[in-house]
Amino acid sequence: MSPAASGLDDRTRLAVHHSTRWSTRIEVLVTDPAVVVAAARILDDVLDRVEEAASRFRPDSELSRIHQVGGGTVAVSGLLCDLLATALRAADLTDGLVDPTVGAALVRLGYDRDFSEVAAGVAGSLPTPAPVPGWRSVALDADLRSVAVPAGTILDLGATAKAWAADRAASTISEQLGCGALVSLGGDVAVRSAPVGGFVIGVADVCGDPAAPTAVAVSSGGLATSGIGNRHWSLGDTPVHHVVDPRTGLPTASCWRTVTVAAGSCVDANTASTAGLVLGEGAPDWLAARQLPSRLVRVDGTVVTVAGWPADTLSTGEGRS
């Protein structure tokens, strides 16, 4: 864990621990200040193991071993099996809008190492549009704990693995330490055993923005925001970002700059918010049909809310439709 800080939130008396990892902001809040350090350790342990299993950037990760085999069947740990299953479920539930086989497309865009090394820009030019291999090409056998991926396919579990880690860490902290817990991994938030009134969470274009235009109280489940306001870089002269449209293999050209969704878990919130961003104009109807409270912000700043998401509370600077 690096760099880290702990403290008490003055308004709610929650104990807060901040750190940075995976080029993102990480926070854990607990309702019992005495256990905040133990909670941070649990979170760190979960992140360690997820990274060892599913990092696309570590040559010694299990995921990299799958890629190195190049088409054969590979035995995987129970953890990676869970992460792969979660990613495939997300793909299934979104008809492939959230697809784990976007890895090679991200590599072609220059995102082939930790983002801190990509942020300054990389050489190259925008590739020709081409669909990604598709999640149906991944054969996972959870009984045998094995997976087969076609040669040349690179998996990127980033979207769902981070949310999975938030869910897992929040559940473990709450159950093992007997307290309410909120875990935020770069804006993917999981809540367990919240205090009365819920945990208050700001919602902004960029994770950690202190000038969030609205805040909501969440009592359970998960909240996630997907957007193009962060994790973007230059590929040659072309600005690109990390949310790839599986249908083109290119950064999604969405009408939304952020989509925030509340769901029964952080994984499901992340799945829906990413799908909404990729889906574009159809996102409000798609989210409303699934009764997922959501806040979508158009590129021009116009805010759209669906399925009971409350009106903005902290400023009136943006339009509303």
Binding site: S137, L140, V203
Partner: protein
């Protein structure tokens, strides 16, 4: 005496009573046949589902093997975690339902700056 009358009634083969019994027996046979057809249909659908879940690429060939799983494959089949440290032993993560899980309650408006902000990262 009423008792005699009753016995007498039982002893005779009342044509309408016999017809009713014949009809009831027919209905019972029909019900049994319907139940059998329903049971066979359910079993066939279940077997087809199991076969397809194992045959389709992109789906796990697994059925749940233990409790506490957090992942799920395909539309509905939960996959149990099978290893990992104690930190991974509790449940959490995606719902095992057929669709994206809805929250227990919609987020409530809050009017204070929050210690945590959700945004793109």
């Amino acid at each position: 005496m009423t008792t005699t009358g009753r016995s007498s009634s039982r002893g005779r083969q009342d044509p309408s009573h016999a017809a009713r019994r014949q009809r009831d027996a027919g209905l019972e046979r029909g019900r049994s046949l319907t139940k059998g057809i329903a049971a066979v249909s359910v079993a066939a659908v279940a077997a087809t589902g199991v076969y397809l879940s194992q045959a389709l690429p992109g789906h796990s060939a697994s059925t749940p093997t233990s409790t506490g799983g957090s992942g799920a494959v395909g539309a509905a089949t939960p996959v149990a975690p099978s290893s990992g440290s104690s930190a991974a032993s509790s449940s959490g993560g995606s719902s095992a339902g057929a669709g994206i899980s809805t929250p227990a309650a919609a987020p409530a408006p809050a009017y204070q700056q929050a210690p945590v902000t959700s945004g793109s990262s």
